[in-house]
């Protein structure tokens, strides 16, 4: 008789999720599904609103990465106000947005690594949950916890300086930006009291990478093989192939590294990407149209970005990128746990970019906006911390939004997360009859590698207990565990 194990909701990810694992009579995993059970309807929420409000409104999608939505919406509206398709802004407009975005990337990656991932690495996937959390990290490795807090704080202050405020930031507007960086702000980020300055952030990023690499040396089997599976990968890249988290062309590579989407203009994304609806999840399953539903799915995020790009345009991150690429002999990396490695290389890159931008005089003077011939439709893409984020708007003759289509990073990673859960379940749960803490967490570790944002609606989620329900194929409850 088939048994069903339900993990609900998933802990330490952004929002609600439910994992169902089906086990047959022989104890083999027959199927795993990550269900997304909350329907948001946010795209309808913005319909009818004046288009210029979108960059502010969409920040309410997510309390963790509002800046990504803010900028993706602003990029789409750049097209609508005739400011080009991502490369038509003034130098000040583009660089201020980049500073905002890399500040966001920096704080989000730091938060994820230090406070969501490090407990698993430091205390083990099957470690006691009483200590396997950031409070446990703070007790045993206080310097790590402090670094995590201060790196996030630094990123938040960058956001505040560029977006105007932490909540309802207004920095990016259609066609540009609404403020310069002040001399005082620049000085505080470059020469601020230790540790809140760019040099310290770079130094701590290097240390974080070393920490992970050392852990990798001692735990190769786990890091290399846990939830590892081949896939295609998709991201923006700069036109010359460089890693670029703010703007570029769309590129996808297959599991062997062959380009299967060759640097196309994302304004035409609907020609290349489609979405499948499945009856057991509210979240759609995107795929490359040319390769179909079965074979066209892809991964996004740090792992994908380092598989699609050819180099990183900052020196320290490039050096780390070369080490990282050499580990897989230049071939695409398919290890879910290497997502953390890739994320920390991006953390370092972000810190370097922030420092470079802070030294750029364009941030403190120059034209802020540009406008041209108005259009009624625009697409904005950005590489959010979790992966490629699509915003697409149409407006009517009254300047109201008449259509909005958002493909968020987590949606792009829907099929990969299901694959990762299935691999983790097979590795940790095959033949097992008792649900252990380690098994539960193994599934979560696989999901957390993708840093999903399942809900993006920030309230009423204050309690996130973990519950496992064991059921047979007739839905009869056999066991239940909660923590």
């Amino acid at each position: 008789m088939e048994k069903k194990i339900t993990i609900e909701p998933v802990t330490r990810v952004e929002g609600h999720g439910k994992v169902t694992i089906y086990i047959d009579d022989e104890g083999n995993i027959s199927q795993s599904r990550l269900h997304i059970v909350e329907f948001r309807g946010f795209e309808r929420f913005v319909q009818g609103r004046p288009y210029w409000e979108a960059p502010v409104l969409v920040q309410r999608l997510c309390g963790i990465c509002p800046v990504s939505h803010h900028l993706a919406a602003a990029k789409a509206l750049d097209v609508i106000v005739g400011a080009g398709t991502g490369d038509g802004l003034t130098p000040t407009g583009e660089k201020m947005r980049r500073l905002m975005h890399y500040g966001q990337m920096f704080q989000s990656h730091a938060l994820h690594f230090f406070h969501l991932v490090s407990p698993d690495l430091l205390f083990g996937v099957d470690g006691d949950p009483i200590v396997r959390n950031i409070i446990g990290v703070a007790k045993k490795y206080p310097e790590l916890a402090v670094q995590g807090v201060m790196m996030r704080k630094f990123g938040q202050e960058i956001i505040r300086a560029t977006a105007g405020k932490k909540i309802h930031g207004t920095g990016a507007i259609p066609g540009g930006i609404n403020k310069h960086l002040t001399q005082e702000e620049k000085e505080s980020f470059l020469k601020g009291a230790d540790p809140l300055n760019a040099d310290k952030m770079i130094s701590w990023s290097v240390d974080a990478l070393q920490f992970l690499k050392d852990y990798h040396k001692d735990n190769k089997d786990f890091i290399d093989n846990f939830a590892a599976f081949p896939s295609s990968h998709l991201s923006l890249v700069r036109k010359d192939g460089a890693l670029d988290l703010y703007h570029g062309v769309l590129r996808a590579v297959d599991a062997d590294g062959k380009k299967i989407l060759n640097d196309v203009d994302y304004q035409d994304y609907l020609n290349y990407i489609n979405e499948e609806v499945r009856d057991w999840s509210y979240m759609k399953f995107p795929f490359l149209t040319e390769y179909g539903k079965k074979d066209g799915w892809y991964r996004v995020g740090p792992l994908a970005r380092l598989n699609t790009c050819e180099f990183i345009p900052t020196p320290l991150a490039q050096k780390e990128f070369e080490i990282y690429k050499a580990y897989t002999n230049g071939k695409p990396n398919h290890s879910s746990m290497h997502m953390h490695w890739a994320r920390l290389i991006e953390l370092l890159h972000s810190a370097e970019v922030i420092k470079d931008l802070l030294n750029d005089p364009d941030l403190m003077s120059g034209e802020l906006t540009v406008k041209g011939e108005k259009r009624n439709e625009g697409v904005g893409l950005i590489e959010a911390p979790r992966g490629t984020l699509f915003h697409h708007y149409r407006i009517n003759e009254h300047d109201q939004i008449s259509m909005a289509n958002l493909i968020v990073s987590t949606t792009n990673n829907n099929q990969p997360m299901n694959e990762a859960v299935n691999h983790a379940a097979k590795q940790f749960m095959t033949g097992q009859k008792v649900i252990t803490e380690g098994m539960m967490n193994a599934v979560e570790v696989a999901i957390r590698a993708y840093d999903p944002c399942l809900s993006c609606a920030t309230h009423a989620l204050g309690q996130m207990p973990l519950e496992i329900v064991l059921k047979d194929s007739s839905d009869k409850e056999l066991d239940r565990k909660r923590r």
């Binding site: 309410r60 309390g63 969501l116 409070i135 996030r152 920030t458 309230h459 989620l461």
Partner: protein, 165 residues
């Protein structure tokens, strides 16, 4: 010279989900009043949710009042001291006040007096603006906090006495 106690009032929630924005609205109201009255020992912050860097933000304060909307069956408002929490199921969308207090103590070895003001909300759809009932609770909450700020020393003392006992 008497030095005024440093007080942080921190509202959190999503103003794009109706009454979930009660905490943010309270901060906006109180900040406007404080600015008019020149109360520079009062600090204000607002965000979608609490997060780890807030451990650093509260470390230098004498008194912290978190304000959040409540979905629970409480009275119109509810004001309680915050206990440290070791709740392990941490998500970055769900750091509780107790979690932040605990992190602050572990990292900075500081224990400010921390209270949580819950303000009852009623509607949570993707829509801007408070409901009429929630707005009444906001006015009540604003008056309540204004009076509490005047007795900050007592609040701080009470908090630490509770901890000792």
């Amino acid at each position: 010279m008497i030095v005024a106690k440093k007080i942080l009032i921190y509202g959190y929630g999503n103003p794009g989900r109706q009454d979930d924005g009660l905490g943010n609205a309270l901060v906006e109201d109180l900040e406007n009043r404080a600015r008019q009255e020149g109360l520079d020992h009062l600090f204000f912050d607002s965000n979608y949710q609490l997060n780890i860097e807030d451990a650093a933000n509260i470390a230098e304060m004498d008194l912290v009042i978190f304000a959040d909307a409540s979905t629970e069956e409480i009275n119109d408002i509810d004001f309680t001291p915050v206990d440290e929490s070791t709740h392990v199921a941490f998500t970055s969308h769900a750091a509780s006040p107790g979690y932040i207090v605990n992190l602050c103590r572990e990292i900075y070895e500081k224990t400010p007096a921390v209270y949580l003001l819950h303000i009852k909300g009623y509607e949570w759809a993707f829509k801007e603006g408070l409901t009429a009932k929630a707005y009444k609770n906001l006015e009540l909450a604003s008056s309540f906090i204004q009076s509490k700020i005047k007795e900050a020393d007592h609040l701080i003392e009470s908090f630490h006495q509770i901890k000792i006992t």
